[in-house]
Amino acid sequence: MPLLVLQRLVSTIPVLLVVAVVVFLMLRVSGDPAAIIAGDTATSAQIEAVRQAFGFDRPIWEQFLAWIGQVLQGDLGESLFTGLPVTTLIAQRIEPTLMLALTTIVFSVLVAVPLGVLAAWRSGTWIDRAVMVFAVLGFSVPVFVLGYGFMYVFSIELRLLPVQGYTSPFEDFGAFAQGIILPTLTLSCIYVALIARITRASVLETLNEDYIRTARAKGQVERTVLFRHALRNAAVPIVTVIGLGVALLIGGVVVTESVFNIPGLGRLVVDAITRRDYPIIQGLILFFALIYVVLNLMIDLAYTMLDPRIRY
């Protein structure tokens, strides 16, 4: 196992290097942000001065080597506009995104797995069809429509929850809870739908296995059959989907963060793209890639715990 972890960690290096090269080149193809930094009334000479001050006039390979050298020392550079280190900006913004991802995935799993098991157990009944209709709706309705809908009902009409904003749970848990409910509900719909479908399909498959019939023949209660035998053996694809869902959530909460005005990583990267703040874009994409790779590794390790037959 330790060897596997070490091998997988080493294998992330070329992945991250490829990501770094591609991102760096794609950004440079679109020109440099000297004119944006210099301001609206800047003369050509002033734009050129900015270009030189930030090193945009140097050859691309030279700029890349300088940046990658920084990265290897753990320095993702500084924002071209604020001058703040990218690592500081990530540190400022990661908590809201992580909290939203955490609440979403916990809520989704708590709701979706029982729903999926229920649908599989009562396959072909109205319960199964209702769960599947919900799953289709969850996939189909855009996140912003759900967000505005929840906002209208719970914030505007009922005045129960705030429209927007984020408060750290470490500062004020009550305010945090108030603020996170609607974004979590909004973002969860698609994941509840996804996980419920996978759970249903996977559990349905295992329910037809011989050992399930044996368990029932031995007189085990239905709950034990479902949760100890069927769900556990169906867990590998479910865990895969949940793991990938977490990875997607980290970088994919842009719309929800925008609708509910949560200052997370999604908004940071979008703001950076609209301003052409290259160090932030590069740093964040590398960061997202790293998270993705690490989560994949964790999913692989989880397989070995869920299914003793899987060995690396």
Binding site: S30, G31, D32, P33, A34, A35, I36, I37, A38, G39, D40, T41, A42, T43, S44, A45, Q46, I47, A49, V50, A53, S79, F81, T82, G83, L84, L89, Q92, R93, R122, I127, Y148, M151, S155, I156, R159, L160, L161, P162, V163, Q164, G165, F173, G174, A175, A177, Q178, I181, S258, V259, F260, N261, P263, R267, L268, D271, T274, R275, R276, D277
Partner: protein, 534 residues
């Protein structure tokens, strides 16, 4: 297995919903903005923190909160002393001795000195268009002791106080020596932010793109005169101001409706009727100068380098149609057929009929006379700023009906900013036109109006070059009387409608939405002194 939904279940669900309001952590009501703190939705994100080195209006607004100015314009656009207690002008109009009033201090408690201010002026004079012109007349900008700034000119210049008291970007804000000595190509960081203004910047709370926090400067000594625009006593009634950045206009609207924010700086025109109908909310226009839409031509390359083509396009553009598309409600726009904002000192009607009565047929004739041969005309078509996008659609349609081979290239505003800096030929990524707008305060006269510069290389993008206009701008700056200046402004307008370095697209206004408990809002740019929140 069956599920039953009983009446008891229904009652339990209803009780649970009602119980949300009684949960121990206070759930059950939307978060209202705290008293004493004005929660503001600004029009943009604050990222650059140097209001002298850059022109963004959001940076200017940030500047007005924490910095102060030697002179400032009041609501009548008259220049009044602000940090200055007065000014002595020599008989030959070549020496200005500006004395500082008592009690001025930086936010760290150290006194504001004349040296700080002289260095701040020098720094501003390197970047601002009006400042560069002022400093071209300057022999020296020094200090005499700790409280007198001394400006010595090479030749008399009529706009000295108008320049250092200018209202809009780049405002000559006063900074401590250590900041004023920093080259404008280097950034001022959040930790460095220190002025002598009525609010203090809270660097530890700064979240670029998300939140900016200002607290009242308890040591600020306001002037005795009543507040009027940027001039007069900057009396702060609030504990602080919090700018919260919202990426989504619908959420902005909802947050104002529920009282989670107090002040929405710029309500989009399409949402203004909804805001106007909200209980507990007011909407008003605090910027009577408004904004002027502008289609800027590249005078260096391609078809737009041909004055005949530019003239033909301007002749065809119908301001009313443009404003209807861009803004919508006539409550928030006004046709304006002058190169200066209407109802201001230098607005005039010289040759205004040229743009007041658009004529497509004559435009086609002018285009034919210009020798235009059908070459592609590249329009940098902004897609992420609705007003610009709508303007462009009407302009492009008009140009196509004239017979121009328009290549409207869709892109976001950041890409427009990148692309428009290019002087390359069209086939190498060059461009012919983009659309933008300026606040009226930036267009008040031919010198403050940087877009009017026709100095070629040092002019605004588009690089207009015309010796006649530049000569008239110099005459304007040196004119001895207001009447002379008005006459020169008319001549400039006439000449401009021959050259057409940009097309004037009318005037529009962005109202401010605010809660009922907010009062004392001054005219724009948004100032946060004088505001009270009950």
């Amino acid at each position: 297995m069956t599920f039953k939904l009983t009446r008891r279940d229904l009652l339990a669900g209803a009780a649970a919903t009602a119980g949300m309001s009684a949960l121990p952590f206070g759930m059950g009501r939307a978060r209202a903005a705290p008293s004493g703190i004005l929660r503001v939705i600004p029009h943009a994100s604050l990222t650059i923190l140097d209001p002298v080195a850059t022109t963004g209006y959001i940076v200017r607004n940030h500047g007005y909160l924490i910095y102060d100015t030697l002179f400032a314009q009041d609501a009548n656009l008259e220049v009044k002393p602000q940090m200055a207690s007065g000014v002595e002008i020599s008989d030959d109009n070549l020496t200005y001795r500006i004395s500082l009033r008592d009690g001025l201090a930086w936010h760290d408690g150290s006194p504001v000195t004349a040296e700080d201010c002289a260095l701040s002026l020098i720094r501003w004079g390197q970047v601002d268009g009006m400042g560069r012109r002022l400093f071209s007349y300057m022999e020296s900008c020094t200090h005499d002791g700790t409280d007198t700034i001394v400006l010595k000119l090479k030749n008399p210049y009529g706009l000295v106080l108008q320049s250092i008291g200018k209202l809009s970007t780049n405002v000559p804000f006063m900074m401590p020596k250590r900041m004023a000595e920093k080259p404008t190509s280097e950034r001022l960081t959040a930790e460095e932010q220190m002025g002598s203004g009525p609010f203090r910047f809270v660097a530890s709370e700064f979240r670029p793109g998300a939140r900016v926090v200002y607290e009242r400067n308890p040591d600020y000594v306001p002037r005795d005169e009543p507040a009027s625009n940027a001039a007069g006593g900057k009396v702060v009634h609030l504990e602080g101001v919090e700018w919260i950045n919202f990426p989504d206009p619908n959420t902005q609207l909802n947050a104002l409706m529920t009282g989670e924010v107090d002040y929405w700086e710029q309500v989009p025109a399409d949402l203004a009727p909804i805001v106007a109908g909200m209980p507990g909310v007011q909407i008003a226009n605090f910027n009577p100068l408004g904004n002027m839409g502008m289609a800027r031509f590249n005078s260096l390359v391609g078809a737009s380098a041909n004055p005949g083509v530019r003239k033909a396009i301007v002749r065809a553009l119908d301001q009313t149609a443009l404003l209807q598309a861009a803004v919508g409600s006539p409550d928030y726009y006004k046709e304006c057929y002058s190169v200066f904002p209407c109802d201001t000192t230098f607005a005039n009607d010289a040759d205004a009929s040229f743009i007041q009565e658009p004529d497509l047929e004559e435009a086609k004739r002018l285009l034919a006379e210009s020798g235009y041969d059908g070459e592609p005309f590249v329009v940098l078509a902004t897609t992420d700023i609705p007003v610009q996008t709508n303007y462009i659609q009407v302009i492009v349609d008009t140009m196509r009906r004239m017979g121009i081979n328009v290549d409207a290239q869709a892109m976001d505003w950041a890409t427009v900013l990148q692309r428009r800096a290019s002087k390359n030929p069209i086939e190498d990524g060059g461009w012919n036109m983009f659309v933008t707008w300026w606040e009226g305060a930036d267009l008040l006269d031919p010198v403050v109006q940087f877009a009017m510069s026709a100095a070629g290389e040092t002019a605004w993008v588009g690089w207009a070059e015309d010796q006649v206009i530049e000569g008239l701008r110099t005459e304007f700056a040196e004119a001895g009387s207001l009447d002379d200046q008005k006459e020169i402004a008319r001549q400039i307008q006439s000449r401009f409608f021959e050259q057409n370095f940009h097309a004037v697209l009318g005037q529009f206004f962005t109202p401010t939405g605010y809660r009922d408990n907010v009062s004392g809002i001054l005219e724009a740019p948004p100032f946060f002194w004088n505001i009270q929140k009950s």
